[in-house]
C-alpha cells in the first residue's frame, strides 16, 4: 500500500516540476523612464456573447447588451479624458455587433486584442485554429493591424506560432513572466490578471451561472478602497497592476465615476506608467527577454 501512495506522491512531484519548468519569472524588472509601476486598464468586451454561449435567458442578454450600446463608449470616453491608452480584449464576433465602438476605440489609440471568437476555445485543434484566425482577421479589418495579445485559454504554442506575443490570463506572479513550451523555449509573455481586480467579481450577478447564495454584490466605495490598496501595494514595491473591466459592468454610470476617481488618484503619484498591454509586453521582451534554459 505504501508503495502505491509513494507513487502518487512522485506523480504529484513530477506534475509540479513540469509545470514550474514551463514558467520563468523576470528578475529585477525595470520600467521605462524609471517608472515605479505599470498599469494596464483592460476591458473584456463580450457584451451578450458569453451569456448567449451559456444559454442564459433574455434579460441576461439585455444586461450584456448594455456593454455594447453604452458601456464601451463610456470607457473610451473615460480613458480618453485621462489620456490613458487601454487594451480591449475583444470577442471576435463583437466586430460584427459593435463595429462603430471598436473603430472609435482604435481611433483613440486603444489596443484591440483577442478574447476568443465566441468566448470559447474549441477542443478540436483545427477548429481552435480556425476560431483564432477568424478573430485575428476580424480585428485586423477594424484596426488595420494584427492583434499581438490574447486573454484566453488558447494553446500557448498556437498563439506564438500565429504571431502573438502575450497572453493575460494567469496570476503566477505579480509581475509579467514568461510561459515556455515543453522544450523550454520561450512561448509567450504572461501579463498577470487576477480575479480580485476584476469588476465582475463585485458587480455582476450570476457570473458563470453562480448560485444566489454565492453572490457578492458590492458597492463602488468598497471596491475603490480595495483596488486603491492593491495599486499602492504594487506601487510601493515597484510592480504591475492589470485592472480587468467589462463594459457591461463598469460602463454603468456609478462605476465610471468610481474609475474616474481611481485614475485621478493614481495620477497624483509620480512614476505611474499607464500603457497598453502591448507596450508593456514589448518593453519586457526587449529589455528583459526570456533566458535560455539551462540544459
Amino acid at each position: 500500500m505504501s508503495e502505491k501512495l509513494l507513487e502518487e506522491v512522485a506523480g504529484l512531484e513530477a506534475a509540479a516540476r513540469a509545470y514550474t519548468a514551463r514558467h520563468q519569472r523576470i528578475d529585477n524588472l525595470r520600467w521605462p523612464d524609471g517608472a515605479r509601476i505599470a498599469v494596464n486598464f483592460t476591458a473584456d468586451f463580450d457584451a451578450m456573447l458569453l451569456r448567449r454561449l451559456n444559454n442564459e435567458p433574455p434579460m441576461q442578454l439585455a444586461k450584456g447588451e448594455f456593454g455594447g450600446r453604452v458601456g464601451i463608449w463610456r470607457l473610451i470616453e473615460l480613458f480618453d479624458s485621462h489620456r490613458i491608452k487601454a487594451t480591449v480584449f475583444t470577442v471576435g464576433r463583437i466586430c460584427e455587433l459593435y463595429p462603430k465602438a471598436l473603430r472609435a476605440a482604435v481611433k483613440s489609440g486603444h489596443e484591440l486584442a483577442d478574447h476568443m471568437w465566441e468566448h470559447r476555445v474549441p477542443r478540436e485543434p483545427e477548429l481552435e485554429r480556425d476560431h483564432l484566425l477568424k478573430t485575428r482577421d476580424a480585428l485586423e479589418r477594424i484596426s488595420g493591424r494584427r492583434p499581438v495579445g490574447s486573454r484566453s485559454h488558447h494553446t500557448p504554442t498556437l498563439l506564438r506560432d500565429e504571431g502573438y506575443i502575450y497572453n493575460s490570463h494567469g496570476a503566477a506572479d505579480h509581475k509579467p513572466y514568461y510561459v515556455l513550451d515543453d522544450k523550454g523555449a520561450p512561448c509567450l509573455l504572461e501579463l498577470p490578471f487576477h480575479f480580485a481586480i476584476d469588476d465582475a467579481m463585485f458587480f455582476s450577478f450570476a457570473w458563470y451561472a453562480s448560485a444566489n447564495a454565492e453572490q457578492r454584490l458590492s458597492d463602488t466605495d468598497r471596491v475603490l478602497d480595495m483596488w486603491w490598496a492593491g495599486f499602492m501595494q504594487q506601487y510601493r514595491q515597484g510592480g504591475y497592476l492589470n485592472i480587468c473591466l467589462h463594459p457591461f459592468v463598469s460602463g454603468r454610470a456609478l462605476r465610471i465615476a468610481m474609475l474616474d476617481r481611481l485614475i485621478a488618484r493614481m495620477k497624483t503619484l509620480p512614476g505611474v506608467w499607464f500603457a497598453t498591454c502591448e507596450e508593456v509586453a514589448r518593453h519586457c521582451l526587449e529589455q528583459h527577454p526570456a533566458k535560455p534554459k539551462a540544459a
Binding site: P57, P58, E65, F66, E118, K134, A206, R252, A253, A257
Partner: protein, 312 residues
C-alpha cells in the same frame, strides 16, 4: 438573417448624454418602482407566501411606512402589482391610485412565463389586465416582470413571446429592461421595426438583493451597500442628465433601520434641484412623444453571418 437577430434587442448605440432632454428643462429623471409581489421564486406567489407574517407586514405597516415616506418627500411611484394582490385587497390598490401613484401589471401571480405556450401566456396577460382594470377602473399601461429573490438570474423572466404579446395587448411600456439606463426600444421584429418602449432596471438598485439575500434568516444584510449604490448612481446620472431608478419592496426596505436609510436617501434626493419624478406611464408617454421609434430607433443592416463551427 436580420442584423443581430437572436443576440440583441435594440439599436447599436444609446443616446448620448447631450441629446437627452427632460420636460420643463429638468435635469434628471427619477423613477421609483414599488414591487408588491410576495413571490419567492419562479413559481410566483404561493399560498405559503400570502399567509406569512412577512406578507402581513408588506401589505400593512410596511406599505404604510413607504407611502408615508413618499408623501413626505412629495414623490410618486409606480407600483408593480400582480393581479392576485389586487384581488386580495382591492381597496388598498385603489388607494394607491387615489394618492397619485400608478398601478402597473405584474402577471397573475408574478409567475415565470419562460416556457408557457404563446396562447396560454396571452390568456394570462388578458386575465391579469382585466383584474387590475376592474379594481382600479383603468387599464394598466405598464407591465413588469421583476426578478424574485429565488430566481437564478437577477433580471426578471420573460418568454420569447412576452414582448410581442405586450405590444399586441396595447401596453405602452415594459417596466424592466437592462440594455440601457434610459428608456429604450425593445425590438421584437427588425423588418417591421415593431418595438415596445422599455424602462431601465438594474439589480444593484433593487432592495431585495441587499436585504437578507437570498433568504431571510441566513442571507446577507448589506443595506448599507444598497444605499451607497443608490447614492453613487444618482450622483453620476444627475451629472450626466440621464435617469435614476430604484426598486423597493415594503417587506425589505420598510423594515426598521432600513426605513431610516431610505428616508435619508429620499431627503438627499430632495435637495437636488431639477429632478423630474414621473410615474412609468408619464415617463413612457414623454419618451414616446419626444423620441419616437420611427425617427430615433437606428437599426443597422445585417452584417451577421453564419459560419461552420460557430453559433449562428
Amino acid at each position: 438573417m436580420p442584423w443581430k437577430d437572436g443576440y440583441t434587442i435594440s439599436d447599436e448605440k444609446s443616446l448620448d448624454d447631450k441629446d437627452i432632454r427632460w420636460p420643463e428643462g429638468k435635469r434628471c429623471a427619477v423613477h421609483i418602482v414599488v414591487n408588491l409581489s410576495m413571490a419567492g421564486g419562479p413559481e410566483g406567489i404561493s399560498a405559503k407566501d400570502v399567509r406569512s407574517a412577512t406578507a402581513l407586514f408588506a401589505a400593512g405597516e410596511g406599505l404604510d411606512l413607504l407611502l408615508a415616506a413618499l408623501a413626505k418627500h412629495g414623490l410618486k411611484a409606480t407600483f408593480a402589482v400582480p393581479a392576485v394582490m389586487a384581488t386580495i385587497d382591492p381597496a388598498r390598490i385603489r388607494g394607491l391610485v387615489a394618492a397619485g401613484h400608478e398601478v402597473a401589471a405584474q402577471g397573475l401571480r408574478h409567475e415565470d412565463v419562460t416556457t408557457l405556450p404563446r396562447a396560454e401566456e396571452k390568456a394570462r396577460i388578458e386575465l391579469a389586465t382585466g383584474i387590475l382594470a376592474d379594481v382600479t377602473g383603468r387599464k394598466p399601461s405598464g407591465w413588469f416582470s421583476l426578478p424574485r429573490q429565488g430566481d437564478p438570474f437577477a433580471g426578471g423572466t420573460i418568454s420569447p413571446n412576452t414582448m410581442d404579446l405586450l405590444i399586441e395587448a396595447g401596453f405602452a411600456y415594459m417596466g424592466n429592461g437592462l440594455a440601457d439606463d434610459i428608456p429604450h426600444y425593445w425590438v421584437t421584429d427588425f423588418a417591421s421595426r415593431r418595438a415596445i418602449l422599455t424602462l431601465p432596471y438594474y439589480y444593484h438598485f433593487d432592495d431585495q438583493f441587499f436585504c437578507m439575500f437570498p433568504h431571510a434568516g441566513t442571507g446577507l444584510e448589506n443595506s448599507d451597500m444598497l444605499v451607497r449604490n443608490w447614492r453613487a448612481e444618482l450622483d453620476a446620472q444627475y451629472k450626466r442628465g440621464r435617469f435614476f431608478t430604484m426598486v423597493l419592496h415594503p417587506q425589505h426596505v420598510g423594515w426598521c433601520n432600513r426605513m431610516g436609510l431610505l428616508e435619508d436617501f429620499l431627503a438627499y434626493m430632495g435637495r437636488l434641484p431639477d429632478l423630474w419624478n414621473p410615474t412609468g406611464a408619464e415617463c413612457a408617454g414623454y419618451w414616446a412623444r419626444t423620441y419616437p421609434a420611427a425617427t430615433h430607433l437606428e437599426l443597422e443592416p445585417s452584417i451577421w453571418k453564419d459560419y461552420p463551427g460557430s453559433l449562428s
